[in-house]
């Protein structure tokens, strides 16, 4: 009887310990959320601006040649003064391996801080 009680107490301690460990694990290993990602804008190889993807907004860049829009954790080229608008056609991006390129205006938008398992996309 006495040993049963002891066992139950040990069980409780063990379960409680595991629960605490689980909680700690959850906090430590939590994957970084989307809100940590940043859109980085480069013109001719120089970073000219950084915008957190958590803040919706429209930004006119590059002397008015390019306009990007950030919404719901994603970024896209909304408008561009370039011949083919290939950059606008590229649509929304949000992952570290993605980029938007406007070659005529030498502008590149990349994503930083996203723990994507993919290094490059083709």
């Amino acid at each position: 009887m006495k040993s049963d009680k002891k066992t139950r107490l040990r069980d409780i301690i063990l379960i409680a310990s595991l629960a605490v460990l689980g909680l700690v694990l959850l906090v430590v290993m939590r994957p970084s959320s989307e809100s940590g990602s940043t859109a980085v804008v480069q013109v001719d190889g120089v970073v000219i601006a950084r915008y957190p993807l958590s803040e919706d907004g429209i930004h006119v860049l590059n002397g008015g040649l390019n306009t990007i829009e950030i919404k719901d954790g994603k970024v896209r080229m909304m408008e561009a003064h370039c011949p083919n608008h290939e950059c606008v056609h590229q649509g929304w991006i949000s992952r570290g391996h993605q980029s938007i390129v406007c070659l005529p205006n030498k502008l590149v938008v990349t994503i930083e801080g996203d723990n994507s398992v993919v290094d490059f996309t083709l």
């Binding site: 700690v24 480069q42 996309t121 083709l122």
Partner: protein, 340 residues
Amino acid sequence: MLKRTGFHILSILVILLCAVLLASCRKEDKIEVRSKTLYSYFDTVTFIYSYANDSEETFSANAKIIEDILRDYHKMLDIYNQYDGMNNLCTVNMNAGKDPIKVDRRLIDVLLFSKKLCEITEGKMDIMMGSVLSLWHDARLSDPQYLPSDEALAEASLHMGFGLLEIDEDNLTVRITDPEASIDVGAIGKGYATEAAAKALEERGVSGYVINSGGNLRCIGNKADGSKWVAGIKDPSNPDLLSAKLQISDCACVTSGGYERYLQVDGKRYSHLIDKATLRPASFHGSVSVITHDSALADALATGLFCMSYEDGLALVRSLDDVQCIWIENDGTVRRSDEI
């Protein structure tokens, strides 16, 4: 007794916690990736990356080696502009039907490699299609875009084919025999230049670098921690999504697809890759990715395979050493060659 049990459990907990923290710290101990962006070569953006954990000075020196080589090949293979003090493909094209033109040994090598690939792909990858490709190029760059007429394409097709190019290896001269014919190395140029740059780094013992020239990926060695890079192949019908992922190191991966550069007329998209047999954009596949060591080979094969059926393509891939391929079909089906 109870106290001791509690102590034991506490000890185990602390040890576990330490292990977890250590593991997560190691995960944070990431490679510092360095990168450089180039805008001026092969009508595309080139990214140079170092995953070698090297210094800024070493990276700058290696990036300069790469850029110098890309610039050299860009000038040699440019069909739109001539440069002082050199004969390039623009010069060769302008002298079509006239005298042989003396060129750099490296340009002769590009043309000989192109000849070999033209034979391997049974003419599907042919650099002597300039007359036809220029019609599609002009149509794509015009505003509004249009489709070249059947008559214009039929007329241009009378002036194409590798047989119209004379290469004199001994005298380092090139001559196009038909005045209406021209060279266009769009299918092979940046892959060839990227390979030349990668080889230059390999010869210097460099590892942990990646050159990404407009979807023409060439990995040199592995990442500094010995791991491989992960490349995602875009879904051609929705480039936000990935159709396949693969781990690569020490090799090239080149994708040919119609979803990035295209011509749009009446809401219908036409790829920029032209099938020699029909003189029109190829529509066999959504995209074709080739994985092999040599970036020039990968580039040329990706174009050739995009312009042939899966069955013909698979037979071709099987006939070659160390070449793997992923086809993303128009309906989204993913097909792979034997060993990938």
